[in-house]
Symmetry: C2
Subunit: 418 residues, 2 copies
């Protein structure tokens, strides 16, 4: 197979899909999404059959049981996947919205209209539901998507795409709107991310290594989803019951996510009152504590922390604890060791809250709320294709609006440049 040519063909098909979608009405797109949800449910048995091939291969390859669980499709999971598509159909369509509209002194009216980006390449790992999720969000926003999932889910992904493409054709939309890059090995991906002009945006979702490789080799803009080293700073003016609940929720509610707390920073003025009880609560929940010297005086069971630990994204029931002099030291710690993802202050002091919000340079800065709330659904975006750690185009949770760009539209009556 001539990989270069194959990838080029796929990108061109996606381009045709994008043109076919760009001017589709909201009603048509919603009808397609509804029909896709139905089609997934109807083809449950086929999906489970194809998924079984992936599972068998995964077991032979010796994948961990956690990974095999992520990979597995059940009737319930397929139903949830379909429900996701139906939910996207219910969201407002951002395409065509004019977000500002101003009259200029020369009488022309200048607006900014949301339009699709064009062709979006999604590179992701394992879970086959991402195939349906990403397709639905791109379709709703009038973008074509080129999907590239992990090899371990290949049969499942192929089947999902075949079902979705069938619906597209049924509604007269070019099936390239949902394209799967079905070529083995990394070469196809490396070719794809060089197709400047044919692909408009690349979104890699997965480990740091994958994202780095894509960023280093891409000539197309890449929206990155790097790790979250998230902090909660408990200020001396915090209500300690609230602080305890927020810290506990931030660490324990779902430790494997990028918006879970990795380091708790505690104001020295309240450390003695707050820490021993809090750390006992954590320990009872199975959290391993790594503490600074001051922490270990108050809670001797804590392990000794190494400086490098402050940069770790554990994604596990492990927590760094550091006692700091004041908010300035906490903000300096966050700037030095954080990943600009999600940071929280718990305080009752108005001036400190406002200063923390203004000065901490993270994608989400929260006052008196859990890090775990940094999420597209929680923030009211209706959907989420990821949490961007970039500062360009989108920062923080990315919903439908972040899958569009704007163009200027001008309504004149003969205006010239003087």
């Amino acid at each position: 197979m001539d990989i270069k040519r194959f990838v080029l063909e796929k990108a061109k098909e996606a381009g045709a899909g994008a043109r076919s979608l760009a001017t589709a009405s909201s009603q048509l797109k919603n009808d397609v999404l509804g029909a896709m949800a139905e089609a997934l449910r109807e083809h449950s048995a086929d999906l489970i059959e194809e998924n079984a091939k992936d599972l068998e291969y995964a077991r032979k390859k010796g994948l961990s049981s956690a990974m095999i669980d992520r990979l597995a499709l059940t009737g319930k999971r397929i139903d949830e996947m379909a429900g996701g598509l139906a939910a996207v159909a219910q969201l407002p369509d951002p395409v065509g919205e004019i977000i500002t509209m101003r009259q200029r002194p020369n009488g022309m009216t200048v607006g900014r209209m949301r339009v699709p980006i064009g062709v979006i390449a999604m590179i992701y790992e394992s879970r086959p539901n991402v195939t349906a999720d990403a397709s639905s969000l791109c379709l709703k926003t009038g973008n074509a998507v080129i999907l590239r999932g992990g090899s371990e889910a290949l049969n499942s992904n192929r089947m999902v795409v075949r079902i979705l493409q069938g619906v597209l054709q049924q509604f007269g939309i070019h099936p390239g709107a949902v394209t799967y890059l079905d070529a083995p090995g990394h070469e196809a991906v490396l070719e794809m991310i060089k197709l400047e002009g044919l692909i408009d945006l690349v979104i890699p979702r997965g480990g740091e290594g994958l994202i780095r490789t894509v960023t280093e080799n891409s000539r197309i803009p890449v929206l990155k989803h790097y790790k979250g080293v998230c902090h909660v700073f408990v200020d001396r003016e915090a209500e300690l019951k609230m602080a305890g609940d927020i810290c506990f929720n931030a660490k324990v509610q779902r430790p494997g996510t990028c918006n879970a707390m990795e380091t708790m920073l505690v104001d020295e003025a309240i450390a003695k009152k707050f820490l021993p009880k809090m750390l006992k609560r954590f320990a009872a929940a199975g959290v391993v504590i790594k503490g600074c010297a001051a922490t270990r005086v108050l809670f001797p069971e804590a392990k000794k922390i190494a400086e490098g630990d402050y940069r770790m994204e554990y994604l596990d029931l492990i927590l760094n604890v550091r006692v700091v002099k004041d908010m300035d030291e906490a903000m300096a710690h966050i700037a030095a060791y954080g990943s600009l993802h999600t940071d929280v202050i718990v305080t009752g002091d108005y001036a400190k809250a406002m200063r923390f919000v203004r000065e901490v340079d993270s994608s989400a800065v929260l006052v008196n709320a859990s890090t775990r709330l940094n999420d597209g659904f929680q923030f009211g975006l209706g959907a989420e294709i990821g949490i961007s750690t970039d500062k360009i185009h989108a920062r923080g949770p990315m919903g439908l609006e972040e899958l569009t760009c704007t163009k200027f539209v001008v309504f004149g009556n003969g205006q010239l440049r003087q």
Copy 2:
């Protein structure tokens, strides 16, 4: 000189500058801009002296008189440069603005606050006023800038930067906020655009070759300003007097700009009535006409067009003219040969106007107005750092807002993730 280390040092200085600027008040930033304007005026003689060295070198190198003119600083040009800084001081500060603020069902309030991007690298050619312009726009938006101008303007650029840095220090801002990458050759630039994590955005301004080289080698997001192949489509329902004035303005008012018209598309239903008179007017203004077969029947003086001409950005008094069957053929032409920059329809038909606006995928789509109006000042952005041909982050004219990103800010009272 160890180039790698030198570039790294410069980027770190800029980072220190960015931190020093990020939380500066609008008042302080405006005071600094005002003082910079004054300082440029005070040092006019020094600037002219340094500029003379560049001019001498340019003459020795045999640069064209047009290029030498662009390079030259006079008292008047320095005054205009200073005036530009003072004008930026007058613009509203986007930093800190909260653009949406919503209450969520759980009682927390979620906003999006505009914040600086961080460190922006500007790579540009010849005119030394870009050094002051770019510095002022970045400073106003709280960003540090690393400037890299053309070697032909090195002495002038160094002097401008020295003056601006003097003012920064006077106001207690880290001088790295305006950093000049003062190392000869391309190596320094190639090193700089790999400094992911230290530099947040690269904006190359110049020829297509420069932009391509930067895009292909950068690991940092690049905002591209590619060529403008702009169209005016004169529909059969156009008011022909208005159409004539718009076309003439679009081509002749300043042909050397990226938003000048390169191709005029004329509906066949009015070609006979519109074209001969229009093309005579163009010819009288010195415009060379390249025409399709139908055009040459109506205006035999037109040169025969080659297909490749339709892709040309002439930046000169040369115009492609093509007669088309209808708006669909015009839109197909724009999609096939255009550069998604600026496209215009002249029509009195409501439905066609709305369809053209919706379906043409350019950074600016205008009805009954000149292509030349696609400009930050004309659109009311107050300033312009360029016209982005990208679809990511910014599209079309980039003003101050496009030099910021947003972060989510959340005001809670103990909210947890359920």
